[in-house]
């Protein structure tokens, strides 16, 4: 066994160890398993938010885009750098406080509590699970490919090991395990990525020399307009690229749950500093490495392996092991968050809501764990038999999530006139428009990104339908009261702390729930 494999084994054991360590808290009913007891501070919140939204895309998709499109690919990074602070500043404090007052345990349940109708959950849960399944599958593929390349283990076995480790610690510790492993993994992936970048720039003789060499291949690769020059630039695609990873984050249920798990609403403030700092250091690196790979590895068969291959070329053996652990960290930290979110949606948002309403907390945790296992098995089978390209799957699934959910999450916290019909219309139109735009090839015809069109459609639907139905479907008084309380800076008054789950303190009044 080579030294790289040893490093990976140590890393896997450490992650599994965190899962076992958090088992005690994770088993304390739904609150402990799904939200880690709402106990997370600024650093864990910020790095968990960032690492769970970075994913294997940063090591496969970003490198591939940079290898094929040069500096044009950095448009994605430009949006991505601000994604964390946008999410925390717009949603963070308000979503934390409102979710506590409304007694919400999951980010989909939060939507139903804010827009009180079972149809919110009927629509939101399947859309979220569908997108999350494809997203998590792409992470499995990335993990399998990475392990295969470093260890030489056949892809099917490498995939099985990657999936096995992720499922193990998600299965055991729930949200707390996911949050703490994500925190550790964010640090590991930052160290790994910076190490590759520095070694890569040394290998090409510095950034300036590297850029000059890339310019010899094709000067357009150094511009922000793509390899074919400014004449062929698609401005709609550029706008979409910036949107996907900046405001797009605010529609991702597996990322938004971070707000609900914060120790206090004010945690969002300091977390924004950590998030921006991390993003500035981490995000541009894989793109620059991908561009420099054009010089170091000009005949690469599979551009998705650009970052892996550069690491293998420029780093000593022992460092490759550490860096690979960083790469696996990015992949696993997203996959675990996605798996847990799917399990949560299945147990809380579908099974408990529509099948067995009197389910105990322990039963709910086990339904969630069973779902994690089932999705992992299905994801493994699909990924091992016919693996699609990671970047395409990630961009497609995150685009649909963003288009479907960004306006409803923002309006839930900020706009008191946003009502049930508006939210339903927004989610449906956002999903349908972005999927149709993508699948019918309208992106190439119009040059407009599906994220852009999806967000415009879902936002307009929310505003217009909400305004048109204010009289027939007014926002309930208890929701308006909760939003008014969220406007204030201060502790939630005890008068609002009654309802369905005493351990969470703030709830929907029982009479209001009975009216639904």
């Amino acid at each position: 066994m080579n030294i790289e494999t040893w490093f990976l084994l140590i890393y896997f054991a450490a992650m599994a160890g965190i899962g076992v360590w958090t088992l005690k808290v994770g088993s304390k009913g739904s609150e402990g398993y799904l939200l880690g007891g709402r106990s997370l501070g600024a650093a864990v919140t910020a790095l968990r938010l960032q690492s769970s939204s970075m994913s294997g895309y940063m090591f496969l998709g970003a490198g591939s885009l940079a290898y094929t499109k040069g500096y044009f690919s950095l448009w994605y990074a430009m949006g991505d750098i601000g994604g964390g602070v946008l999410n925390l500043s717009i949603l963070g404090r308000r979503m934390r406080k409102l979710s506590q007052i409304l007694g919400s345990l999951t980010s989909i349940e939060y939507l139903e509590h804010r827009y009180p109708s079972k149809w919110i959950r009927v629509i939101a849960a399947p859309v979220a699970v569908f997108c999350i399944f494809f997203y998590v599958m792409s992470q499995f593929i990335a993990g399998g490919r990475g392990l295969e390349m470093v260890t030489g283990i056949p892809y099917a076995w490498a995939l099985l090991i990657a999936v096995g480790v992720i499922v193990f610690y998600t299965f055991l510790g729930g949200y707390l395990a996911v949050a703490y492993t994500d925190f550790v993994q964010a640090i590991i992936m930052l160290i790994g990525m910076l190490w590759i970048l520095i070694a890569c720039l040394q290998a090409v003789g510095g950034w300036t020399a590297g850029n000059e060499a890339v310019g010899q291949i094709n000067p357009n690769l150094l511009t922000m307009w793509g390899p074919d020059g400014i004449e062929s630039v698609q401005w709609g695609v550029i706008v979409g690229a910036v949107l996907v990873f900046s405001i797009g984050y605010m529609g991702w249920p597996h990322v938004n749950v971070s707000h609900m798990a914060m120790k206090r609403p004010s945690v969002a403030r300091r977390a924004s500093l950590y998030a921006t700092g991390f993003n500035l250091l981490f995000i541009p690196a894989p793109y620059i490495v991908g561009i420099m790979a054009l010089i170091l590895l000009p005949t690469l068969d599979n551009p998705e392996l650009a970052v892996f291959a550069v690491a293998d070329t420029v780093l000593p053996d022992f460092a490759v092991g550490i860096v690979m652990a960083g790469i696996m960290a990015a992949i696993m930290s997203t996959a675990d968050a996605l798996l847990l979110q799917s399990g949560t949606i299945a147990s809380q948002d579908l099974f408990q809501r529509f099948v067995k309403k009197d389910m105990s907390d322990q039963q709910s945790v086990w339904v969630s764990r069973f779902t994690v296992l089932v999705l992992a098995v299905i994801g493994y089978l699909v990924a091992v038999n016919d693996p699609p390209a990671v970047a395409e799957v990630v961009i497609f699934s995150t685009t649909v999530l963003g288009a479907a959910f960004v306006p409803v999450y923002i309006a839930a916290a900020w706009w008191k006139k946003a009502n049930v019909p508006g939210a339903i219309a927004s989610m449906i139109l956002g999903t349908v428009s972005s999927v149709v735009w993508q699948l019918t090839g309208l992106v190439d015809v119009t040059g407009v990104d599906p994220m852009g069109i999806g967000i415009v459609c879902s936002t307009l639907a929310l505003i217009l339908v909400s305004l048109a139905t204010q009289r027939s479907h007014p926002v309930p008084a208890h929701v308006l009261k909760a939003m008014k309380e969220t406007d204030k800076i201060g502790a939630i008054p005890p008068s609002m702390l009654t309802g369905q789950n005493d351990s969470l303190a703030g709830q929907v009044p029982k009479d209001a729930r009975d009216e639904r």
């Binding site: 500096y71 950095l74 430009m78 750098i81 601000g82 602070v85 946008l86 500043s89 404090r93 308000r94 950034w207 300036t208 020399a209 590297g210 850029n211 000059e212 310019g215 150094l222 511009t223 922000m224 206090r264 609403p265 004010s266 969002a268 403030r269 300091r270 924004s272 500093l273 921006t276 993003n279 500035l280 541009p284 309380e485 969220t486 406007d487 204030k488 800076i489 201060g490 502790a491 939630i492 008054p493 005890p494 008068s495």
Partner: protein
């Protein structure tokens, strides 16, 4: 600069700079959020000591430093 066209340098340095400024502005304007922690602590303390604690220290929106 760095062997790159000026427009590329302006974009890849300028947009991150905007995000940094946005972060600092957000942190500055949300400085009043610390009051929420104090209010929450007081509320918890009053609950623990058996007093009613109703409206447990909920500060007004005016005290939020301009950002809520």
């Amino acid at each position: 600069m760095f062997g790159l066209p000026t427009a590329t340098v302006v974009i890849i340095a300028g947009i991150p700079a905007i995000w940094v400024i946005y972060t600092l502005v957000f942190v500055f304007f949300s400085r009043g959020w610390r009051a929420e922690d104090v209010a929450e602590d007081q509320s918890l303390a009053s609950s623990a000591s058996g007093t009613d604690g109703r409206d447990g220290g909920a500060a007004s929106a005016k005290g939020n430093g301009g950002a809520a």
